[in-house]
Symmetry: C2
Subunit: 262 residues, 2 copies
């Protein structure tokens, strides 16, 4: 028997993740038949963007789609699951940190479709290279989701909820905390009217070089050289901001520990 | 009178910075006449790489070059300055955090040539796009250095020692601490045998998107959403490592503060 193929999709959500997925799906000729958002404005903008009908009422969700994708903020997933009324249609969420079990009592065909990427509304990314982590409640659903994901991305992984949560945690360090490091750098430069753009080649190379060197081997800077003079100079320069000083101190200590220098 | 043009260069150092500069200079047909390193092996490897003579003795440095570039570790600069015997030849260092004044008592033509980039020996970068910050003791030397730097890079800035130190401090956050965030992410994944490569598209996009969005606007993740449930889940997952937990806590607090959520 040939594998059931996902044709009609309903997208629940109209935020960063939903918008990026909607645009990527359209590019790949996937048929999104409806958009839902509890915010009229967001639903309308995304609906118009991809020429699809939209609703702000979960009771108006069409019930004959092949896949329902919940791409809302983590804390809103359970309320969507409880208030959406489907038969046995396949439903997934897109969260890194919410267990698949959230569907257990309300659905019989469910799973997770987690794109491991940071999404911004005004940037449409190439979905081909985004790792997609999938999980499903049955092997059949896993195969259906996997086939669907492989139409969209070259990198599809079957990963259970426990591993996915670890992956999401690691992504918080690699993306969210990293971006915060960029923010501090920008804030320091602002004090002296230096344009943040001067750091962009450095930031890009720091990211690019770990594709070839492990972060352990790629580590550079005063901490790894145990350059106490420069470290003290930096702590002096940060004397105007106790928070940044604390972060500098903690990072420096840990980088030193990493190579057993302390 | 036409500007004095730098022809013959002596490179003091054979580490990451010196190696990258040597290769970049060669590519641009700059004439490095001699390499110095206190380590015979390093001097030989780099000398052979760019087909140039090398020495491990500062007394054997040729005295007729137009520019002497000190690319050694910060703490070794002053000893090089004291032990190199030149006439009035132009001499510069390449450090972000060492003041230009280090040359003051031993030289009459001096400055700084600071490439704002992270260098790895086995990666030869395109120097064209590396910001170069220069400083010199006279306007004439500044013009000579500036013309030289512009032959190598599209982005040349005249920046004084005070600003350069700030720039270097910001680079520690944007590069060194960022790389350490990558390291923690890798270390977390190792625990569950997940390959770090799965994070590379995310890491690259995090770096790429701040060329269009400021880090302040680009911030995503549980902290900025004030998603306490996910934050607590992450702290639980980190219970095996107090250092990582402390870093997670501090970063989360500060990201919340950034948008005045606490």
């Amino acid at each position: 028997m040939p594998l059931f193929r996902i044709e009609k999709i309903v997208l629940i959500g109209a935020g960063n993740v939903a918008t990026n997925m909607a645009l990527a799906f359209k590019k790949k000729n996937k048929n999104i038949v409806q958009i839902y958002s509890h915010t009229e404005r967001a639903a309308k903008i995304l609906g118009n963007k991809i020429h699809t009908s939209y609703t702000t009422d979960l009771n108006n969700i069409v019930t004959d789609a092949d896949l329902y994708i919940i791409a809302v903020t983590d804390s809103a997933i359970s309320s969507v699951v409880k208030n959406i009324h489907l038969k046995n249609n396949l439903i997934v969420h897109t969260s890194g940190s919410v267990s698949m079990e959230i569907f257990k009592t309300d659905s019989s065909n469910f799973g997770v479709f987690y794109p491991l990427q940071t999404f911004t509304k005004n940037r449409c990314l190439d979905f081909d290279t985004i790792p997609v982590c999938i999980e499903a409640n049955t092997l059949k659903n896993q195969e259906i989701l996997s086939a669907f994901a492989k139409d969209l991305s070259k990198y599809v992984y079957v990963i259970n909820s426990e591993k996915r949560k670890l992956l999401h945690l690691s992504a918080v360090f690699a993306c969210n905390f990293t971006n915060y490091m960029y923010y501090i750098a920008e804030d320091i430069l602002k004090k002296y009217d230096i344009d943040f753009d001067i750091l962009i080649p450095l930031i890009k190379e720091t990211a690019n070089k770990i594709a070839l060197n492990s972060p352990y081997n790629a580590q550079t800077g005063p901490a790894i050289r145990k350059d106490i003079q420069t470290i003290n100079q930096h702590l002096d320069l940060l004397s105007y901001n106790d928070d940044y000083k604390k972060i500098y101190d903690l990072m420096t200590d840990n980088i030193m520990k990493m190579k057993h220098l302390t």
